[in-house]
């Protein structure tokens, strides 16, 4: 159970700079009545973030990144997406996605 003092300092600093952007909006925005336009804009943020997180993961790979439209990640995403639309079950979607991805790995 060894923690190097230099590493400890680095971890603390990383923790601090990660925590502040998580805390600031929660602290300031949760106590104020937000103007309508800001609420309407923030309402669109989750769907935007999720899509921006996922799509590059599915269609781009490598370092530096390049397009690759024939990745198993993308092929499996289509039935998984349809299943989620139909069933609205998060657990089911995860299990199905894993199973299909595993099968795809076996087949190709």
């Amino acid at each position: 159970m060894k923690v190097d003092p230099g590493m400890f300092l680095l971890i603390m600093a990383m923790g601090a700079v990660t925590y502040v952007p998580r805390w600031l909006p929660l602290f300031f925005l949760s106590r104020k009545r937000l103007p309508f336009w800001l609420q309407a804009w923030l309402d669109l943020i989750p769907v935007a973030i999720l899509s921006a997180l996922i799509l590059p993961e599915l269609v781009a790979t490598g370092n530096p990144r390049h397009l690759d439209l024939f990745r198993p990640e993308l092929i499996v995403a289509l039935p998984t997406l349809l299943f989620a639309l139909k069933t609205r079950s998060l657990g089911g979607t995860v299990i199905l996605g894993m199973a299909l991805f595993w099968l795809t790995g076996k087949l190709f």
Partner: protein, 247 residues
């Protein structure tokens, strides 16, 4: 603590854990992988656990470790971590709408657990809560902390010898992607949301091809939400954001 309070607390824990399991499942392979990588970069299991506990942001931890092993200095690692994790600023802003009347100490604890996954899951739950399912900040807090626990445990285990687990077992590497896909689907509550998702996704792909790192997430989200916002304004009051419940 009265009988009623205890009942409420246990209920929140039960429902929070029930909701969080897909996140935990998704964290396991990534956590193990991080542990292996970090251990190879010279970190002890205690250091790995401490980093997972205090930073709790997967991609930035991977990046930090790879920077460290390539000899980067203190400031470079801290600045990169800050940039990579700046996207949480947007997530916390969106979550704040649902955390009114939560006291400052709880807000301070809650903020610690805001990740891509807990944010998306909690927000979907807050939105669908109504008669029959009442998602509140206590349940959301349980989701945050159960996920954190899964992350800490899996990264430390990885540090002890995750190399023995075969890669790609049971498609578990796909768990997080599938979960985020499911959560994205839950967010599509009308044409405007589909449009924003499409714009954001394509913008993010384009940007990700030209800028390294993950700044594309925050830039694409802001662009797409802003376009969607002005489009909905142009169309008048037909696509209003739902009023936020004060309770």
């Amino acid at each position: 603590m009265t009988e009623h309070d205890r009942e409420k607390l246990l209920g929140a824990i039960r429902e929070g854990v029930k909701a969080a399991w897909p996140i935990c499942l998704g964290y396991c392979p990534i956590g193990l992988a991080f542990g292996v990588v970090a251990q190879k970069a010279g970190m002890s299991p205690a250091e790995i656990g401490l980093m997972s506990l205090l930073v709790f942001a997967g991609s930035s931890q991977f990046i930090a470790v790879s920077l460290l092993s390539s000899g980067a200095g203190f400031l470079a690692v801290v600045l990169t971590t800050f940039t990579v994790n700046l996207r949480h600023l947007l997530m916390s802003s969106a979550l704040a709408l649902h955390l009114r009347r939560v006291t400052t100490p709880w807000i301070t604890i809650f903020a610690y657990g805001v990740t891509d996954e807990s944010f998306a899951l909690n927000l979907a739950r807050f939105r669908s809560s109504g008669p029959g399912s009442d998602w509140d900040w206590r349940r959301a807090l349980v989701v945050n902390h159960v996920s954190n626990l899964a992350w800490v445990i899996s990264t430390v285990l990885g540090g002890y010898g995750g190399a023995f687990i075969p890669r790609g077992s049971f498609g578990i590497d796909y768990a997080l992607v599938a979960m985020l896909l499911g959560l994205l689907v839950f967010q599509l509550r009308g044409g405007l949301y589909v449009l924003v998702a499409v714009v954001s996704g394509f913008t993010a792909v384009l940007l990700s091809l030209v800028i390294p790192g993950n700044a594309h997430v925050i830039i694409a989200s802001v662009i797409a939400a802003t376009i969607g916002f002005f489009l909905s304004r142009g169309r008048g009051a037909s696509q209003r954001a739902e009023p936020v419940d004060e309770s």
